[in-house]
Symmetry: C2
Subunit: 323 residues, 2 copies
Amino acid sequence: MKTETIEELAKGIRNGNRVSLSRAITLAENTLIENQNKAHQLIQLLLPFTGKAKRIAITGVPGVGKSTFIEGFGNLLTQKGLKVAVLAIDPSSSLSGGSILGDKTRMEDLARNENAYIRPSATAGYLGGIASRTYEAMLLCEAAGFDVILIETVGVGQSETLVHEMTDLFLFLQIPGAGDDLQGIKRGIMEMSDIIFVNKVDDFGSEKAKEVKVTLARSLQFLPQKDSSWKRKVLMGSGLTGKGLEEVWTSIEEYFELTTRNGYIQNRRKEQMNLRVKEYIKEKITHRIMVRYEQDNSLENLLHETNPYLLAEKWIQENFKEF
Amino acid sequence: MKTETIEELAKGIRNGNRVSLSRAITLAENTLIENQNKAHQLIQLLLPFTGKAKRIAITGVPGVGKSTFIEGFGNLLTQKGLKVAVLAIDPSSSLSGGSILGDKTRMEDLARNENAYIRPSATAGYLGGIASRTYEAMLLCEAAGFDVILIETVGVGQSETLVHEMTDLFLFLQIPGAGDDLQGIKRGIMEMSDIIFVNKVDDFGSEKAKEVKVTLARSLQFLPQKDSSWKRKVLMGSGLTGKGLEEVWTSIEEYFELTTRNGYIQNRRKEQMNLRVKEYIKEKITHRIMVRYEQDNSLENLLHETNPYLLAEKWIQENFKEF
């Protein structure tokens, strides 16, 4: 089998070839420097065709029904003639979280839908690096003509901050009636949220669901206004039955209408890119320094030092005099 | 109020003064370079008194009952005459996760116990930096004479890998009967685990609990042996009633007995420190580079570049010719 050139790969992606798209994302996820360089050349070719999708973060604690929501919502969007790509930012997301207690195939319907593309996350490396790889996958999907990119993450760590930084709109899933532990929402997630969707309402009865909606709406009052001047919304429904999903899409359209008009989205896209630049600088320099550290034979001379800070500082001074 | 000198702070910590300990941890968490340097001087003074505690990671998904387990287990240990410090590695842990829907005071009993010390995590910065701050807090607690350090984290992101790297033993909490989503255990967490504790057995009935125990034990067979040559254990009980907690402690003692005898612990401690050295080098260099990036006026000349990788690469080449 002949290996595709970068140009052939770019052409395949532009023609909507799924195999090319998947290969390109795999290339971007590869940690070898030469493959990373190839991926960056590829993105350089495709850059003019990126930036047109709606970039949407979807988060919520485990058990909130993210897979089912994404399946229902993704299918709704494809019925509207939209092309939908689903990515995951961290290894614990429902997309990529393979349980060793039983392997459920998730999002079966959506996976078979020809206008949808599902891709679990890159799992190697630290979270910042994974975020960069997800950003690259997003650009590749945009070049392939996807209209909506859904990036899934789990709302209990730091990955939701990273996904927030690389998307335009933050959709937070909640369930009524779970224990306090499950509802232990960090204020930070509520602040980031643009739309809060109370999921699985059928399982809990409309009384309970309304109660949660009122409580959520009340707690939103205490949060500072968003820079986008968008007013946070609480919606209710069910990913499983499809109830409320149409309203989610209407709100998303309203959000983009507002933020395009007031110029917020344009600034936000610039910030998204600037954050990536900083992350790449950190990644590249850190990588090169760590290679040097691992290969450093003079390190032996420092190992009598039992204070990790002093050891680090001495090594930096010996190796990077300019600092 | 006169500010304590580093020497006074060190003396206070060695004398078991809680105020000194808390001040020292706050100093270590401070992001100002001069305060970080002070914290490092302090740790230099205290280093001879560190390293004697058992460093234990406790993890599990939200809702598994971590707070209740730690409260019950911590109280058991203090009854044995041990001094217990509880730290949290990430902002989403039950220790530090303040819900805006209702602020429960957690671990009330343990917080009042004079042989226990509870400290929520540093929340500023990226996860690697938070891990370094938690490591420093751990060293300070060891110098203050604590025998057991419990480091809590949430087992759904990357923080459990960081906490695994800085501890001696990994304790993973599970519950029987929760939905598949909640039980969606990553293979990685199972691999890291030394002891798996099936919690809340009273809530679920012993039939269900036994079933989970058998399933877990079976899935453990498929995992590679641990470097420590410790055989992973599944235990059952309840943090709330105290059932099974004595067995957890017995297993922990067996673990340390084995790993001290075969030399694993000594190597592991060296690795823990080496990881910290690397993290400090990354932190310091990244910090200095980002300061330079933010202050760089020549950056304007690069902003016509719309490809984030090329922008990053050009900036590095202009600023760090040696790379």
